[in-house]
């Protein structure tokens, strides 16, 4: 398996707060990798650094053998690396279908492509993906009128619409009821198998991430604490201590 994402010695500080310190990790093509850690351990900061939302202080980030450290958000998204947000973000004033159609990949797209008439193939794919997440019947409703859980599903479908090579999900199961969590985990796995999307997932729900991920990294105080297969990480003394506050 080839490495799709590789971080070497990434550090990021906000004033005196060192959110990430010398973080090195990698994700292989087609893998599902988890990222866990107590609140405030720097998980979301690491995601933001990877997608170019802010420049890093030190270290390099490589995606598909391209150094993306100096690139900004839209450029990195066009390379096929996408993130979803912890506080679900969709276009509330637009219908689900419109949300989907404008989420289509912008790779190799120019400004003029936007002036072409709406394309039937996009509508088609949007409908199939909405069906995949179970929102087909609500496709003509404004995104903002959906419940929180449904918005999460819509955001996930939008991400798939973009046909990314790799998707980074920030707490996909937060605020969703337990039954739906199982359905979501199942869909994430299917997206990984059927669409071949590499997944990198921040998660606090231990049961969900243990069944989903093949490999897990644990962050604490901005530093990488442990790495390994789910059962190894789960039984790691340092990880347990970090969550209980001993570290």
């Amino acid at each position: 398996m080839t490495t799709i994402l590789e971080l070497t010695g990434v550090s990021k500080a906000f004033g005196g707060i060192r959110a990430n310190r010398n973080v090195s990790l990698n994700v292989k093509q087609g893998e599902i990798v988890g990222l866990i850690g107590p609140n405030g351990s720097g998980k979301t900061t690491l995601f933001s650094s990877i997608v170019g939302a802010h420049p890093v202080d030190a270290g390099t980030i490589r995606f598909k053998d391209v150094d993306i450290t100096p690139l900004r958000v839209p450029q990195i998204a066009r390379l096929g690396l996408l993130r979803t947000f912890q506080q679900t973000r969709i276009y509330g004033g637009m219908t689900c279908m419109q949300n989907m159609v404008i989420s289509a990949s912008q790779r190799d797209a120019t400004l003029f492509d936007l002036f072409a008439r709406e394309r039937a193939d996009l509508d088609d794919r949007a409908e199939r993906l909405l069906e995949f997440v179970g929102l087909y019947g609500k496709r003509h409703l404004p995104g903002g009128s959906l419940s929180f859980g449904q918005q999460k599903l819509l955001e996930f479908a939008m991400a798939l619409m973009n046909e990314p090579d790799m998707l980074m999900l920030d707490e996909p199961t937060a605020g969703i009821n337990p039954t739906l969590i199982n359905g979501l985990v199942d869909r994430l796995k299917r997206a990984n198998e059927e669409f071949g999307v590499t997944l990198f997932v921040i998660e606090h729900n231990m049961r969900a991430i243990m069944t989903l991920a093949e490999r897990i990294y644990c962050l604490a105080h901005g530093e990488l604490l442990a790495e390994g297969r789910p059962e190894e990480v789960r039984n790691d003394r340092r990880v347990i201590d970090a969550y209980l506050g001993a570290y």
Binding site: P74, F85, I90, G93, M94, L111, E131, G137, Q150, L180
Partner: protein
């Protein structure tokens, strides 16, 4: 509203527009102004409504178009500085019909080009700001442009500039400018109607709803925003050129860059009709122009107070505008319907 209804409505509006000066010649100027107001409201809504960037500076493009048009109209025969120095008196400047019409055509084109160039230059600077910061900044742009024009001797400085006097052979120029305004309103309406069926409008709607998300999905937000502003400026530049000739006198701060009147009115018309819709600004402009003329006729002396009260009432009772209010009442008319999940296999996973 079906496609047929829509077509009928457009045809009726067109017919009224074409016949108006024949049927009610006394109101030709007010009606010409209405067509220009529709252009102002429609183009404001492109950026303010559809893209969510509340601009108080669109009047800059009107002023730029107005001055650019007048300058080209004059310079086709005379030196602009000699023309403005005469202050409309002293030397007589004669424009023969041929030269006048050529100048007008070239002037309107120059107005459009100048406005687009200004939009592209300013856009990349100010569209980096968001929300209130953008609104305040554009407010400043309008004021700054007015002060610049008022200090520029070549353009007549604070004394302003008169549009070239039309030759007598052309006849009633109000009719000419009326039909030009009508044509421009029609082109703007149809042009934006086309634009709102492309994915470009989805891109600017996405920027309105969540710009960070749009960026994270790979949309080139900066270029999209500047393009939208430049499209608005294109129509506003031409509108400004016509408006200057209709008004005949171009005052730098009262007519050309008048943030307190036209600059605010265009925002008001779009909000009154319903932001983020194609018909909203049109309805808003009609309601606004009719009430404004009504106030000026029957409440003279109190007209500005009445207008102020109207603004307060609109914002308090119709924050979503007329069309927005209708959409809230009858969402299914706008296609916001729930359908059964047609695929039974997926139904068991469906979130309720």
């Amino acid at each position: 509203m079906t496609a047929r209804h829509r077509l009928l409505l457009i045809a009726a509006a067109g017919l009224i527009g074409v016949l108006w000066p024949v049927l009610l010649p006394a109101y030709t100027i007010q009606m010409a102004e209405l067509w220009l107001f529709i252009v102002f409201a429609l183009t404001w809504d492109l950026v303010g409504g559809q893209m969510g960037y509340n601009s108080f500076g669109n009047v800059v493009f009107v002023g730029v178009g107005m001055y650019a048009c007048a300058v080209v109209q004059v310079s086709i025969l005379y030196s602009v500085s000699a023309y403005t120095a005469a202050r409309g008196g002293g030397t007589e400047f004669v424009f023969p019909p041929d030269a006048y019409l050529t100048g007008l055509g070239l002037g309107l084109a120059a107005g459009a080009v100048a406005a687009v160039v200004v939009a592209l230059c300013l856009g990349s600077l100010v569209l980096g700001m968001r929300g209130h910061y953008f609104a305040i900044c554009t407010l400043g742009l309008g004021v700054a442009a007015g002060e610049l024009a008022a200090g520029w001797d070549w353009l007549g400085a604070g004394a302003g500039m008169t549009a070239p006097p039309p030759p007598r052979e052309i006849g009633d120029t109000n009719m000419l400018f009326y039909y030009m305004s009508l044509a421009l309103a029609a082109v703007t309406f149809l042009g934006l109607g086309w634009l709102y069926r492309t994915r470009f409008v989805l891109a600017i709607n996405a920027i309105r709803d969540d710009e960070d998300k749009a960026e994270a999905m790979g949309l080139d937000t900066t270029r999209i925003k500047v393009t939208a502003w430049a499209i608005g400026a294109l129509f506003l530049g031409v509108a400004g050129g016509i408006y200057g000739n209709l008004k005949r006198f171009i005052d730098p701060t009262e007519v050309a860059f008048s943030g307190a009147t036209v600059g605010v009115w265009m925002v008001l018309m779009a909000i009154l009709g319903g932001k983020g819709t194609l018909w909203g600004p049109v309805i808003g402009a009609i309601v606004f122009q009719v009430t404004k003329e009504f106030f000026w006729t029957f409440l003279l002396g109190w007209q500005r107070v009445a207008l102020g009260v109207l603004i307060v009432l609109i914002v308090v009772f119709f924050p979503q505008g007329i069309l927005g209010w209708v959409r809230e009442r009858f969402p299914e008319r706008f296609g916001h319907t729930v359908e059964p999940d047609t695929v039974p296999a997926a139904a068991k996973d469906t979130v309720q």
